[in-house]
Symmetry: C2
Subunit: 478 residues, 2 copies
């Protein structure tokens, strides 16, 4: 048989993507059997009840149904600024949402993205170096595909990491070079640690070509400081690495000490020679922030200091799949140029987005506190992004029981949690963690009013689990 | 520099995608300079003025703006059946269009696709073996990624072919094994020719693993007969090849002698052992047909006789990019279950779709006749799909001039055509052709009323070109 398991591309078999792995598949089965599942395996806000922002949906609905713009009754269902914006975006297309755009995305939307970046960072941005993508993941895959030539090429990836990176590197046949984030330092990034990782990879004959940072962190939730970003960029300069800045959670910040600062801004602030030489590709999306428009599949990447000939090659490869979907390109345009004060829809838009962000901030707190109220659980505060990544201290009895069940201990724990409570998480082993230490990742996205009950249900399960597998647990709690 | 042209993945550099290649780039430049360009380089109907079908756009607009469903005025802008369908599709999602779906697509839409296939072929279809994709191209790339392990793995591809195949095979580091379609037999497929191609590849140590057919043909426009499909399937059975059936133009048929018949139906008709053993993956899309919803990026593939463990691996890889965009999944649902007689929107839908198909049929005729009215041009009739692929007989003077300009002769011709007329085509060399024979591909999509003028403009250019480069041309015409 041509397409048998044995004859499959080995890189396909090797790659692992735990976010939709064993736990997700079991949760889907249980859901089919009628059990109520709380899907916190993936940052998918609308699936957990978050309502879409009204204004962008009005605009895209009108773009999908342009004939409504000629209907005298259109004003009964749509505000005038949504109508105007729909006309604006349609004018940027060459045939509406049904026509392929340029493979880099609509020039007019890329211009709006560049203007957004300029406002955000205070430095110029060139639309020709911005490509729109079907979600940020597709952009990351495109760039890694250009970088990786084979298993002699290494990519520095944080551990714990979002498994898009490990899976894509496996799929492309490259080598993942891990650098460890320090849990005891609130998942901080230590540049000495980076140096060791690179030295070790080189001693194994690997050419380290790129470094990934996820800021704010996924699954770890930390926000990188400006000083830390400078160190990283200097490191990339010295080591001649292209920095891939996964900044998809830049709107999701839940503390005031370290606001989001983009890698691009820090790089430009550093001035010559860094600002002229360090290669940077940064990624953004409509899936996260207070938008959460995951199902639309919209994203972009911006390239800095990438030579024109390489940009052309990236364009060529993008063109094989013709174009990113056009309605998500319009969502991207709207995300980077939302209603302004004075616009008809401004108040509603501001109220909706503020409501979502403030609730996420409260949920981050409820969840961290809930985890930390369990004596065998330690959890850093979610400074940003959408995840909580508690460490679960498992007793030898549980590790033994997992072994007997043929499971990794944290997978064993998460499966039991799922069966008992319907909470669908991802075991820490799917993201990478230090030997003998166990975590799980959950999103902070369940509805705020359901959060206390979910945390109670978690605590009840955890205590029972511990009582079952740790002879000393019940006693020492008193 | 980490990301320099020299250090790029060689497979990226090697791949070529002429549909958005030199001609397209030059056309885009000319457009920027203010020249009127007729983009016939890619099958992109809405870009050339085709209007979207009203009913599906109404349904998707409502799905994008679900709050309209609670508005008492919704009935003033939307018919009741569109409202009902929007509610139906929203009920199939888990959080509307903003939530990621399962990575294979929404189960409810996959069920509708399976029902469509059952009605079309008269054989059962299993939704679990249907994956929705961001356009058919992405599906083809996913499958080839699983099949190709390295340059020792060969894929049989028709020549001329749609360059998605050659580009993807290059990108994945595989080997393209060409088989030639016979222009003098209306681009027929000769199985003896296939056998020779496979034998030759094997003598070079290549393991031939898969065969691609494009039916109706792109760029060649031919429709495969049932007898021909049986031969192909038998050949795949004997040679243990997985057949990739690119059937994206199945609704685009412009003659009555050979209606579209799916590879799946022919395979099932053949019975055991073929129907139980031949591996088949067939592809479809919302981009073509009379829909032409290219910019939405929606497609599916159906797998037949692919082992469950392989299906799981394909699912795993699909999950890395989380999910295809959800609004295009709904377009796919609508395409496979359009309004029925008796529905409020049926008459309009039927009128619109019939209008498009009948006009395409007339345009196919106008274009073929137009090309054949030039004495140095020979063109098979476009039986199906959306393209005309005339052979242009270039005189030695033109070939010499092209050489001096450093261009392939058909590229030279197409560039001159573009500069003179604004007609943006793709040179035959982008699809593959026999040595010393030259073609171009154009779509049959320009508006019907503009077609005579476009063909006149082509003829005028061609005659002038020939007069310039062929000393005998003017005389022999008299």
């Amino acid at each position: 048989m041509a397409l048998s398991y044995d004859s499959l591309n080995e890189n396909v078999k090797k790659c692992q993507y735990a976010v939709r792995g064993e736990l997700y598949l079991r949760a889907s089965e249980l859901q089919k059997e009628g059990k109520k599942i709380i899907f916190t395996n993936v940052g998918n806000p609308h699936a957990l009840g978050q309502k879409p922002l009204t204004f962008p949906r009005q605009v895209v609905a009108l773009c999908q149904a342009p004939f409504l713009l000629d209907d005298p009754n259109v004003g009964m269902l749509f505000p005038a600024d949504a109508i105007a914006r729909a006309k604006h975006y349609l004018s940027l297309t060459s045939g509406g949402l049904g026509a392929y755009s340029d493979s880099r995305g609509l020039p007019g939307v890329r211009k709006e993205v560049a203007e957004f970046i300029e406002r955000r960072d205070g430095y110029p941005s060139d639309p020709e170096l911005i490509f729109l993508t079907d979600g940020a993941s597709k952009g990351v895959m495109q760039i890694l595909n250009c970088v990786i030539r084979g298993d002699g090429d290494g990519i520095l990836v944080p551990v714990p990491q979002y498994p898009l990176y490990s899976a894509t590197i496996s799929l492309l046949g490259g080598s993942l070079v891990p650098y460890y984030l320090d849990e005891s330092e609130n998942w901080g990034l230590d540049v000495d640690n980076l140096r060791q990782s690179v030295a070790q990879a080189r001693s194994q004959g690997i050419t380290v070509k790129a470094m990934v940072i996820i800021n704010p962190g996924n699954p770890t939730g930390q926000c990188l400081s400006e000083a830390n970003l400078r160190e990283i960029l200097k490191f990339c300069y010295n080591e001649k690495l292209v920095l891939l800045g996964d900044e998809v959670y830049q709107q999701n910040i839940y503390q005031d000490e370290r606001p989001f600062i983009s890698s691009k801004k820090v790089l430009m602030d550093m001035g010559s020679p860094f600002s002229k030489e360090v290669q940077l590709v940064s990624f953004h999306t409509v899936s996260k922030g207070y938008w959460g428009e995951c199902g639309q599949r919209g994203g972009y990447f911006e390239m800095t200091n990438i030579p024109p000939r390489v940009v052309e090659e990236i364009y060529k490869v993008a063109s094989i799949a013709l174009s990113p979907n056009v309605s998500a390109q319009i969502f991207m345009g709207l995300m980077v140029s939302p209603p302004k004060p004075g616009d008809i829809s401004y108040d509603q838009f501001a109220r909706e987005s503020k409501g979502i962000l403030e609730s996420l901030r409260r949920r981050a707190r409820i969840m961290t506190d809930g985890f930390n109220s369990c004596k065998n659980v330690v959890c850093n505060f979610t400074e940003g992004a959408m995840y909580s990544f508690p460490q679960i201290r498992l007793p030898p009895g549980a590790i033994q029981a997992a072994k007997q069940a043929g499971k990794v201990p944290d997978v064993f724990y998460c499966l039991k949690l799922l069966e008992a409570t319907g909470i669908s998480t991802v075991p820490g082993s799917g993201f990478g963690q230090k030997e003998g230490v166990f975590h799980l990742r959950t999103t902070i996205l369940p509805a705020e009013e359901e959060m206390p009950e979910i945390m109670d249900s978690f605590k009840k399960f955890n205590d029972e689990f511990m009582t079952q597998y740790d002879n000393n647990f019940g006693y020492s709690r008193m």
